[in-house]
């Protein structure tokens, strides 16, 4: 078991990226999923299609547009520059933005299903018992949809772990900053360091398998419990 220091750093960056992205996704994705599960707006499907885009879009396409957007003259870039953050291209923050967009459907869709299953009648029961809309959300919707939160977090996390194309386009492969495991593996293979590639690939495989096991075990448990 000999990971090079560079490998360990890449691993750390990867886990940190997945962790922060999942957190941001839960914060932004929860209100979005709630709105999608309740809205009767006739053009809601447009938003749903946009959220689902990363499922089918080649990550390089997403990465390409992000690169343009993050550049100092792009919309996100000029916004971040005016906030004094500079351009986000080739930075860790830029990767977070990319990962959030890339993993969005993996978090929003389970949450949307979970919220839909909460059902209108339980929320109405809470309303007649004196609970305000925010109160109903936290006291009824969130606890009832808890399994969906677990699924969403794990899938968001696991999907970000395996990110490659987007990072390749906007990351710049800077060790300690934007070099993640998937890119490190690519580098090892390019330099014909197969044993190193094996180690990292095996680790990523194991990690992904374990997180998915967690989701499915939780789901199975849910079925038994109800």
């Amino acid at each position: 078991m000999i990971f090079t220091e560079a490998d360990l750093v890449a691993l750390f960056v990867t886990v940190k990226l997945a962790f922060i992205s999942t957190l941001v996704l839960l914060l932004c994705g929860t209100p979005l999923a709630w709105w999608l599960s309740r809205s009767k707006w006739r053009f809601r499907f447009l938003i749903e299609a946009i959220v689902a885009l990363p499922l089918v879009l080649p990550p390089t396409v997403l990465g390409f547009y992000l690169l343009l957007g993050l550049s100092p003259s792009g919309p996100i870039g000029s916004l971040s520059s005016s906030l004094g953050l500079g351009s986000l291209a080739f930075t860790f923050q830029g990767l977070v933005v990319g990962s959030v967009l890339y993993s969005m459907p993996f978090v929003v869709q389970p949450l949307q299903d979970g919220f839909r299953n909460v059902g209108i009648s339980r929320l109405e029961a809470a309303a007649v018992l004196g609970a305000s809309p925010i109160d109903r959300f936290f006291s009824v919707a969130v606890p009832v949809a808890r399994p969906a939160f677990v699924t969403a977090s794990v899938l968001g996390f696991a999907h970000t772990l395996g990110e490659f194309g987007v990072v390749l386009m906007i990351g710049g492969n800077i060790p300690g900053e934007t070099q993640v495991v998937s890119i490190a593996i690519y580098d090892h293979v390019e330099m014909l360091h197969y044993s190193k590639a094996h180690l990292l690939s095996g680790l990523l495989l194991l990690l992904s398998f374990l997180t998915l096991t967690l989701v499915y075990r939780h789901r199975g448990f849910k079925v038994v419990a109800s």
Binding site: A125, A127, V128, D135, S139
Partner: protein, 354 residues
């Protein structure tokens, strides 16, 4: 604290127009066939649906008019749905505390009192999925009451239960009204539930109120569907006065005179509601003494209704109470029944409802 409500909805196929005033005390039954708009009315009162053309006032407080719409959670209404809608992620106790903890200070009811009233103390640590349908509905009622509503709305609360479970719950609903004095609007399409529970009745059909008044009056309005149906009946109120132990008869004093009921010994002094089926009432011109029938009331003919049908409905008044008698048209002609005539109504059966 009377309640006024006016709604008008026109959705093409479904039109709904009501203008009602509900008394502050007692149980108001809302009765009508499925799809007549009973649930729509309750949901509008609770604010669960917002119909722009609406007005609701409860006591001095306006819940809805052209400029105001108080959201449901600020109305302090209790709502019992057909399904119990308990929170499955909480124990019974936590379900009960949900409403209780959101009540403004000083308005809280004692949890123990309500738990005893609905007899659910043994269920407190259970999850809703482990309860029977009847138990779930009792918990749902307790939860609604503990939120201290100013008005309790019940939407077919017994519809999903079988007959035994219905019988199990009805006394609790009566006790609620009696012990807490909480006004209740009780929606049902089950006539038996309504005649047992309601003091006041709104009769609905096709999105309209077709009649309203005291239960005894609406049941005996010969122009309305209730009195035209095969199980037409009259309701009278009575107080238990005596018990004849030799013959095992309870003797009651009612607004139509003395009523004798065989069998169970009723508690002395208790107020009861009695049902007299129209088909069991016969009419005589003289007070018969050579008859096996014990319950005979002196009355005046009010209306004879039925046209050319083989049977007619005769509405008689004893004091201020109306009684229906279904008799053959031939008998009505033989007796030459006319409004204002003095007659005697005798009934073979009287059922104690409460």
């Amino acid at each position: 604290m009377s309640i006024s409500a006016r709604f008008h909805i026109d959705h093409g196929r479904f039109t709904f127009g009501v203008d009602i005033a509900i008394p502050e005390k007692g149980i108001t039954g809302v009765f009508g066939p499925s799809g007549c708009g009973k649930t729509t009315l309750l949901r509008a009162i609770a604010g669960l649906d917002h119909f722009p053309q609406g007005y609701i006032r409860i006591g001095g407080e306006v819940w809805q008019d052209t400029t105001t719409f108080v959201p449901t959670y600020k109305r302090m209404v209790g709502y019992i749905f057909q399904e119990s809608n308990l929170f499955t992620h909480m124990t019974v106790k936590k379900n009960l505390k949900y409403g209780l903890s959101r009540v403004p200070k000083g308005r809280e009811l004692s949890m123990d009192t309500i738990v005893d009233l609905l007899d659910i103390s043994a269920l407190m640590d259970q999850y809703p999925r482990n309860l029977s349908g009847g138990e779930q509905q009792r918990v749902a009622i307790a939860r609604a009451i503990l939120a201290s509503p100013r008005l309790l709305l019940m939407d077919e609360p017994l519809a999903s239960l079988d007959l035994d479970r219905k019988r199990e719950i009805i006394p609790y609903i009566e006790a609620l009204n009696h012990d807490l004095g909480m006004p209740i609007i009780y929606v049902s399409h089950d006539r038996d539930e309504i005649t047992r529970l309601a003091d006041h009745l709104l009769l609905m059909d096709h999105g309209k109120i077709i009649s309203s008044g005291s239960i005894a009056d609406v049941l005996t309005r010969v122009d309305l569907p209730l009195a035209k149906s095969a199980d037409a009946e009259s309701i009278i109120r009575a107080k238990v006065r005596d018990y004849d132990s030799k013959y095992q008869l309870s003797i009651l004093e009612s607004s139509v005179g003395q009523v004798v009921i065989p069998g169970e010994k009723l508690e002395l002094g208790r107020d009861v509601r009695l049902r007299i089926p129209a088909r069991d009432v016969s009419l005589t011109l003289v007070h018969q003494t050579d008859t096996s029938i014990l319950n005979i009331f002196s009355a005046t003919v009010d209306q004879v209704f039925g046209g050319d049908a083989p049977q007619v409905m005769v509405k008689v008044r004893a004091g201020d109470t109306a009684i229906l008698a279904r008799i053959t048209r031939k008998s009505a002609d033989n007796l030459k029944l006319k409004p204002g005539m003095k007659i005697f109504a005798q009934t073979k059966s009287v059922a104690v409802l409460t």
